[in-house]
Symmetry: none
Subunit: 118 residues, 4 copies
């Protein structure tokens, strides 16, 4: 279910964060559903528990999950804000890339065509 790409320069814990986050956004993990335990996931992926812990901590900090000692980690029911900021980041990234493309001689129309065709 979670696949780690060791060739990816992106740190493992960050890959995990993105993966889980997108699962939550897509509704694969529902609100208040429990996520796999730190130790369980560590075993499944053959990864050190601390690395999993770090990923979960970041999700917590982002407001995507909440964790209860002795019980587990659960999907937060209110992650709208996190979603909005993520969309905003994507928007800025796309605009930045468009700007770069333009400076290389690609017109805005062509960029829009890329999106239309895919």
């Amino acid at each position: 279910m979670f696949s780690i790409d060791y060739k990816n320069p992106m740190p493992i814990y960050e890959q995990l964060v993105e993966k889980i986050e997108s699962f939550i956004f897509q509704g694969v993990f529902k609100a208040d559903e429990q996520l796999p335990s730190v130790r369980q996931l560590a075993m499944d992926l053959s990864i050190n528990p601390n690395t999993i812990q770090k990923a979960y901590s970041m999700l917590d900090a982002k407001g995507m999950t909440y964790s209860v000692k002795g019980r587990g980690i659960f999907v937060s029911s209110d992650y709208q804000k996190a979603k909005d900021t993520r969309i905003q980041v994507i928007k800025e990234d796309i605009l930045d890339l468009t700007k770069q493309a333009e400076s290389l001689g690609v017109t805005r129309t062509q960029v829009i065509n890329w999106i239309d065709e895919y």
Copy 2:
């Protein structure tokens, strides 16, 4: 002419590569024109010469420049291929981001609007 943003998490040598590359693409540096020497640039920017060296090596590897022993580093006259691959990378990045946006509930039309309006 070259401004380094120390607050940018991107490594300095990478910032340099991008800057010079875009200058070449835009024609600020013409074909066969000589780039500033490693030592000169290092002094101007108050940066470790090794960092400049690394940036220049990467430009060489990308085919953007060629170096002549004892004389200096010059802009390659044939960087079209480099330019094309760069455009290709940008295209893929934009499509990937669009895909992400869609999975967050943003329609493709909205993405195109972002580009149109900016």
Copy 3:
């Protein structure tokens, strides 16, 4: 009657202690009245009996209750001291926070306004 907030990072037993304590202070539980049994409360709240036990032990230690073997746990008639120390703790906390607010540029008058307006 007792509501547990699982999203609250505060441990369950502590939430219980606070709840019961405030009920006693407010007179909801009168002196020498019997509290619900460990097993009963555990069932009602779908909580591990050990957790209830721990909460009751803490109330005992604080002098808020006394337990009679084989009969149950009862509200102490003399919890004035516990009440006073609690008030003292609250006072110190408020003063500490006020000090912090001042170091952030909030005047004492503003702090008092916060309290007045709420």
Copy 4:
């Protein structure tokens, strides 16, 4: 300069975060000033470097600092937002404590007196 209280149940890294944060707010550390290095601080306080690292990461996430690989960690020049949210948190805490005090029979006027007298 940084004193750790091992009797304090608050984790070490959190104590550090609060300490440094308040130093920045008070102007002890100026904008763009470099903070002590991870290893240096670890040695000075006889604390594991990872613990320091964690504290610095949190400051980064809060927008209080920015870190540059190979160079060091520096005080951010724009932490106004962080300051505002902190003040907000303090306000809510004070109001909550006031509410608690009132439920224990302390009038709001008395609470204000505490602040006035200190």
